[in-house]
C-alpha cells in the first residue's frame, strides 16, 4: 500500500527555519561544550545564549523583509506557517530569551551556581514556543507545547536548594500535564469530527458543511477542551490557580521568561487556531473567550490588590494582562467586520510589548529580592528610592507602563486592544477592561509608594546591580519609553501580521 518509492519527503526551506536553527545550534553548543570542555569562564554560557537569540532576531528581520515581498505560505508539508504573524511571535520569544539569559547569568553568580543547563532549557523552551507560534497542524502544535512546557517545568524546579522552587516545579508539572491532556483530547475529538488535524483543512471541512450532527457534538466538545487546555497555558481565569504559586516559587529570571515567552506562544497558538481553523464557528467560541476575558480582567486585578508578596502581585497582574490580550482575541473573532484584523495585530503587539515590560519588572524584583529570592515581600521594597534611585526609577517606569500610562509602551498596548474591541462594537468588554485597568493601577501604585515614600528600617544595604542585569533593564526601559513616545513605526510594522498563512 505504501511502497517506499512512492514516499517523497516534503521540501524543507532551510532559510525560513533559520531562527529556529540558530537557537538549536546555540543549545547544542552549550550542551556539548558545557559537558566536554572544562569549566567555561563565568558568564560565557549566558553570553552564548544571548548571542544565539540575537542572531535569531536578526534572521527574523531578514525573513520579515522577504515576506513583505511575497505571500504568506505554509512550509514542510503544511506543518508550519510562514507569515508575519509567526515572525513577530518568534521575535517576541527571542527577545525574551535574550533578556532572560542576561539576567540569569547574574542570578547564577549570586546563587553561587554555574552551568549551561538553565540556558539550554531556555533555548529549547524557545524552540518549542516558536513551533507553537508557527504551527499549522494541531499535532505539531501539541509537540511545540510540550517542548515548551517540559523545559519550563524543569526551569521552575531548577533551584534545588529552595523548597519553594521545587514545590513550584511540581505544581506546575501536575497542572501543566493535566491541561495538556485536555488539550490533546480536544485535538482527538476535532480530528474525529473533521478527519484532519491540519488547520487549513479543518477550516475547509468546516466551511463546506460536511459535518453531520454526531460530528457536531464531537467538534464542539473538542473545541471546548482545546480552549480549556490553552486557557490553562495563558493563565486565564478560571484556569489560573497555578500561576501565583509557580510565579512566586520559581527563580525570578525563570518567572520572567515564563510570563513572557510562555504567554506569547500560548496566545499566538490560541489566535491562530481559533481564527484559522475555527473561522466558520466563531459564534461558538466567541462567548467562551468573552467570559474568559472578563473573568481574567476582574479577578486578576482585584486579587492582585490583596497580595503582600510582589512576585504574587505581578502574577495576578499577568492574569489581568491575559484578560487584555483576550480582548484582542475577542475582537479578532468578529471575522465579518473590517476591523477584526486589528484584534490580531493589537494582541500580537501587546505580547511583544508585555514581554519586554514583564522581564524588566521581574529583573528588578529579582535584584531587590537578593540571594535565594528571599526578600520579595512588599515591605522589602521600602526605601528603594533612597537606596538605589536608578533602580527605583526603572521600576517606576515599568509599573507605570504596566498600568497603561500614556508615553509608555503599556499605553500603546492597552489602547490597541481596547480600540480593537470598540471598533468591533464590543462596548461592554471594553468598559470592563478600562475599569479593571483602574483597579490594577492601584496595585502598581502600592509598589511605587512602597519604593519611594516609605522608610526602610534596618535595610540600608543597596541591592547590587550587576552589569548584565543593568544592561537588560536599561534596554527594557529604553524600549518601553521609545515605543511609548513614538509608537508609529511599531504599529505600522505590526499592521502586517493580520494575513495568516492558509487563509
Amino acid at each position: 500500500m505504501f511502497a517506499a518509492e512512492t514516499l517523497t519527503g516534503p521540501s524543507i526551506p532551510w532559510f525560513t527555519l533559520s531562527p529556529l536553527l540558530a537557537l538549536l545550534i546555540g543549545a547544542c553548543v552549550l550542551m556539548l561544550g558545557g559537558s566536554l570542555l572544562p569549566q567555561w569562564p563565568r558568564g560565557l554560557y549566558g553570553i552564548v545564549t544571548a548571542l544565539s537569540a540575537a542572531t535569531s532576531i536578526v534572521l527574523c528581520f531578514f525573513l520579515w523583509d522577504n515576506l513583505s515581498d511575497g505571500r504568506p505560505e505554509t512550509i514542510i508539508g503544511d506543518a508550519l506557517a510562514f507569515d508575519h504573524f509567526a515572525v513577530l511571535g518568534t521575535i517576541s520569544i527571542c527577545v525574551a530569551v535574550l533578556l532572560a539569559s542576561l539576567t540569569t547569568s547574574d542570578y547564577l553568580v549570586r546563587e553561587g551556581e554555574d552551568g549551561p543547563e538553565l540556558f539550554v532549557l531556555y533555548l529549547s523552551a524557545a524552540i518549542g514556543g516558536i513551533v507553537m507560534v508557527a504551527a499549522q497542524d494541531l499535532i505539531v502544535l501539541f509537540l511545540g507545547l510540550e517542548t515548551l512546557s517540559l523545559a519550563l517545568y524543569v526551569l521552575a524546579a531548577s533551584n534545588r536548594r529552595r523548597e519553594e522552587s521545587q514545590e513550584a516545579g511540581l505544581k506546575y508539572f501536575i497542572l501543566g500535564g493535566f491541561s495538556s491532556a485536555f488539550f490533546l483530547y480536544g485535538i482527538a475529538l476535532i480530528y474525529g469530527a473533521t478527519k484532519h488535524t491540519n488547520l487549513g483543512r479543518i477550516m475547509e471541512t468546516l466551511s463546506s458543511q460536511q459535518a453531520f450532527p454526531r460530528n457536531d457534538v464531537l467538534l464542539l466538545a473538542g473545541v471546548g477542551l482545546l480552549l480549556v487546555g490553552l486557557a490553562f497555558k495563558v493563565a486565564a481565569v478560571p484556569f489560573q490557580v497555578w500561576t501565583p504559586d509557580v510565579y512566586q516559587g520559581a527563580p525570578t529570571p525563570v518567572t520572567s521568561f515564563m510570563a513572557s515567552a510562555g504567554k506569547t506562544a500560548a496566545f499566538a497558538a490560541l489566535l491562530r487556531v481559533s481564527v484559522t481553523a475555527l473561522e466558520s464557528r466563531v459564534d461558538d467560541w466567541r462567548p467562551v473567550v468573552w467570559v474568559l476575558a472578563v473573568l481574567s480582567l476582574v479577578v486578576g486585578s482585584v486579587l492582585a490588590v490583596t497580595q503582600t508578596n510582589v512576585k504574587r502581585m505581578l502574577a495576578y497582574s499577568s492574569i489581568s494582562h491575559a484578560g487584555f490580550i483576550l480582548l484582542g482575541v475577542e475582537a479578532a473573532s468578529h471575522t465579518g467586520s473590517a476591523s477584526a484584523a486589528d484584534g490580531i495585530a493589537s494582541a500580537m503587539t501587546y505580547l511583544l510589548l508585555y514581554t519586554v515590560l514583564v522581564i524588566g519588572t521581574f529583573t528588578i524584583v529579582g535584584l531587590v529580592a537578593g540571594r535565594g529570592d528571599s526578600a520579595s515581600n512588599l515591605t522589602d521594597f521600602r526605601g528603594l528610592g533612597r537606596r538605589r534611585p536608578a533602580l527605583a526609577l526603572a521600576l517606576t517606569v515599568f509599573l507605570l507602563a504596566q498600568a497603561g500610562m500614556p508615553l509608555t509602551s503599556g499605553f500603546v498596548a492597552k489602547f490597541g486592544v481596547i480600540r480593537a474591541a470598540v471598533e468591533t462594537s464590543s462596548y461592554a468588554i471594553a468598559i470592563i477592561a478600562m475599569l479593571a485597568s483602574v483597579i490594577g493601577a492601584f496595585l502598581y501604585l502600592r509598589i511605587m509608594v512602597s519604593a519611594w515614600m516609605e522608610d526602610a528600617e534596618g535595610q540600608d544595604a543597596a541591592p547590587p546591580v550587576p552589569f548584565l542585569s543593568g544592561l537588560a533593564v536599561t534596554a527594557a526601559v529604553a524600549f518601553t519609553l521609545v515605543v511609548g513616545i513614538v509608537p508609529g513605526w511599531l504599529l505600522d510594522a505590526t499592521r502586517q501580521v493580520i494575513t495568516l498563512a492558509g487563509r
Partner: protein
C-alpha cells in the same frame, strides 16, 4: 447463545471518555504526587484510545501516527516528572501534595 455483540466505535469512545474521567478525578482527588502523575498518564492513554478508534472509523492513518507522537511526549513527561518528584522526595520522606504548602496567599 446470544448473537455476538460487535463493538462499534462509539463503545471505544465511551470507554476512552470513562478512562479520561477516571484519570481527571484521580488528579483532583488523590494527594500523592506519584498517583496524580499516573492519573495524568491514564488521561493521555485515554486520548490515545480515542485517536485509534477514530482513525479506524475514518480509515485514515493520521490518527494512528498521532498516537506515536503522544507516546513519545508521555515518555518525556515521565522523565521530567519523576525527576522533579524524586528531588522533592529526597528532601522529605513521604511527600504528599498537601505538605507542599509553602506557597500560598
Amino acid at each position: 447463545m446470544a448473537a455476538a455483540v460487535v463493538p462499534t466505535t462509539t463503545w471505544y469512545l465511551i470507554l476512552a471518555a470513562a478512562l479520561f474521567a477516571i484519570g481527571m478525578t484521580g488528579v483532583l482527588v488523590r494527594r500523592n504526587p506519584l498517583i496524580m502523575f499516573m492519573c495524568i498518564e491514564l488521561m493521555l492513554n485515554a486520548v490515545n484510545l480515542t485517536f485509534v478508534a477514530l482513525a479506524t472509523e475514518l480509515t485514515d492513518i493520521n490518527g494512528q501516527t498521532a498516537v506515536f507522537f503522544v507516546l513519545v511526549v508521555a515518555a518525556a513527561e515521565v522523565v521530567v516528572g519523576l525527576g522533579i518528584i524524586v528531588s522533592i522526595m529526597r528532601r522529605r520522606q513521604q511527600a504528599t501534595a498537601d505538605d507542599l504548602a509553602a506557597l500560598k496567599g
